[in-house]
């Protein structure tokens, strides 16, 4: 069926929810639910997002419903912005449901500086960040690691970096899961993955990854902003990257393995990229161990970039320019969580955990307001800080969206506007841009993305998270 026809199967059940019932296709086990208003729904209907979410609804052990966040768009296997939870007792785990960039995520650093303090030092600061943080595909870092050190990154996560002077206890407290999932199994990480990971800690990668110097343009919820330590005019830094080549290789290895073993479990699927195995099987457990190791590597990657960013701020702005970690949250991950007494393996593929004030995983300092959620826009457009709501647990397995969401292909974006023009337009807005490739700049141009203000508005109206602050970019270092 065409995307248009599939869209016709949906019922609009509120002004921000469309649902395709499980009865729409014989192989669906649960409904497919989309958080979207009328305008976003029209965009969703233009690609294969609907079919992909319906495919996810066929996976064994699916609980309650599968969800698409307001920024959803076509991916591979799962749609980007897809959330699905499978019972650990009789359900599956799917490497394709996490994606190749395991624990790709976002962290926000809040500075002690205001936009007035920054003045003419913006350009040298952005230049210094671009020199200090290797960007681009396959780039190596100055923090090479031997096998034993890699094992410690896999099993200890960010705690390992405290010992190395690149993290502090406050950083751990303000990182999802303390920057370490306990289920990591270094033996489950292949030699190829290790080889790719040994030289990439502290590197940004390419594509939509970035480090942005931003300014808090507007506070939208005073109490929550106060709890998060944010105020109008403050300089902040948003970092977006993941587990680099190591995570890509882990996913490659285990999609292949699941594709091989899946027939033995009697599982047939409408898309091979959804390849999976029962969570409690050897294949499922082994993948989970490797994924946790890669997730811990990704948290360390963002932490090393934080350390380098702090050094760069200090060099350019002086030692008083401190950067405090507000929070770090994953948006490509599978985690075991409990819902109404049931243990579920929650897959978030391009979706952010958004736990409310009453969840024990929300850092103590934020229990009055909820877990911070960051929704980056695109270069030249705003980003948002939100906080999770307790109601999101019931609505979306405690999830919200992870960005504005692409609305056109990279090739079309580049056809419509060359990289040089994108750079000049950003420059005309006063945004300092450093990017190793004009092609990448063209592919990631603002017009390739949905309107972030609109997407975030739907997140709030759907009751998934509450807006706290709107951030605007001043300087962008692109991968």
């Amino acid at each position: 069926m065409s995307p248009e026809s599939l869209g016709g199967l949906a019922h609009r059940i509120s002004d921000t929810i469309y649902e395709i019932p499980a009865s729409a296709r014989p192989d669906m086990r649960v409904p497919a639910r989309f958080f979207a208003d009328e305008a976003l729904w029209e965009q969703i209907r233009s690609d294969r997002s609907i079919e992909q979410l319906m495919n996810v609804a066929t996976l064994p052990g699916a609980s309650r419903a599968v969800y698409s966040m307001p920024d959803t768009h076509e991916g591979y296997g799962f749609p980007v912005g897809g959330v699905a939870a499978f019972r650990t007792s009789d359900g599956v785990i799917s490497p394709g449901g996490v994606g190749y960039d395991i624990n790709c995520g976002v962290r926000l650093l809040a500075s002690t500086m205001s936009v007035e303090d920054l003045g003419p030092t913006l350009e040298p600061l952005v230049h210094e960040l671009s020199r200090a943080i290797p960007a681009g595909a396959g780039r190596s870092s100055r923090y090479g690691m031997n096998e034993a050190e890699l094992d410690r990154v896999f099993t200890e996560g960010c705690s390992f970096l405290v010992e190395r002077g690149m993290a502090n206890e406050d950083d751990l407290e303000h990182t999802e899961a303390g920057g370490c999932l306990p289920g990591a199994d270094p033996k489950a990480v292949s030699q190829r993955a290790r080889q790719r990971g040994s030289s990439q800690l502290g590197t940004m990668g390419s594509g939509n990854h970035f480090v942005e110097v931003q300014c808090v343009e507007r506070i939208l919820d005073e109490d929550s902003a106060h709890a998060l330590g944010l105020e109008q005019g403050q300089i902040v830094v948003l970092i977006h990257t993941g587990s680099r080549g190591l995570g890509h290789q882990v996913c490659t290895d285990y999609v292949k393995e699941m594709d091989r073993v899946m027939p033995g479990f009697g599982i047939t699927l409408p898309d091979r990229q959804l390849a999976c195995a029962p969570f409690e099987s050897e294949a499922g457990r082994t993948y989970f161990g490797a994924m946790c190791a890669a997730a811990n590597y990704a948290w360390c990657n963002r932490q090393v970039i934080t350390h380098v960013t702090r050094e760069a701020f200090s060099r350019i702005l002086g030692p008083a320019a401190a950067l405090r970690l507000v929070y770090d949250v994953a948006h490509n991950i599978a985690k075991v969580e409990e819902y109404e007494g049931e243990s579920l393996c929650v897959h978030r593929k391009g979706a952010t955990r958004a736990f409310g004030p009453n969840n024990l995983e929300t850092p103590a300092a934020y229990r009055s307001v909820g877990q911070p959620v960051f929704i980056p826009g695109s270069m030249g457009t705003a980003s948002y800080v939100l906080v999770g709501r307790d109601e999101a647990l019931e609505r979306s397995f405690g999830s919200a969206c992870h960005g504005a969401g692409r609305r056109m292909s990279r090739r079309r974006a580049a056809r419509e506007k060359p990289g040089r023009e994108v750079r000049d337009e950003l420059g005309a807005q006063g945004i300092v841009v450093r990017c190793p490739s004009l092609k990448e700049l063209a592919e990631e141009a603002p017009h390739a993305y949905k309107d972030v203000d609109h997407v975030v508005d739907v997140v709030e109206r759907a009751g998934l998270a509450r807006k706290v602050a709107r951030l605007v970019p001043l300087g962008v270092v692109k991968g």
Binding site: Y76, G77, Y100, A137, D259, D271, R272, S409, G479
Partner: protein
């Protein structure tokens, strides 16, 4: 023989056409090289090397081959320029290739996926579609 890149909202889908499956494998290598080299001349071509790829059927071979090239681009900063399939066994392909050094891959291809993977007989012989995570 030909390849083309099809629009996909967030990734890249490659459509390959060739007279035979070994030629399709060569075409897949050329498509990957275009993504990695971005059409730029990257200097002198190095020595021939042999690459072995294992698989259980044609789709798995293609994905495995493209993932091998991604691995080589990242770990050896190498992309193929000249390619030929020298041996086709039921579970193994042997490919002879020479290529150029990459200062860094010009595009971030994370992986070749199984999503919508298609290999079928076509008007020119064999055609395939593979979606790449970029």
């Amino acid at each position: 023989m030909s390849y083309e890149f099809l629009d996909h909202t967030s990734e890249v889908t490659v459509r390959l056409r060739a007279g035979s499956f070994p030629d399709l494998v060569v075409e897949a290598g050329r498509a990957m090289a275009e993504l990695m080299l971005d059409g730029e001349d990257r200097g002198s071509v190095g020595e021939w090397r042999e690459i072995e790829v294992r698989g259980t059927e044609r789709g798995a071979f293609l994905v495995e081959w493209m993932n091998e090239l991604i691995y080589l681009a990242e770990t050896e900063q190498w992309a193929p320029v000249d390619l030929e399939v020298t041996e086709v066994e039921p579970l193994q392909l042997r490919i002879r290739a020479r290529g150029v050094s990459l200062e860094q891959p010009s595009a971030s291809v994370k992986a070749a996926t199984l999503h919508g993977l298609l290999v079928r007989e076509g008007p020119e012989g064999v055609e395939a579609e593979v979606t790449l995570d970029v």
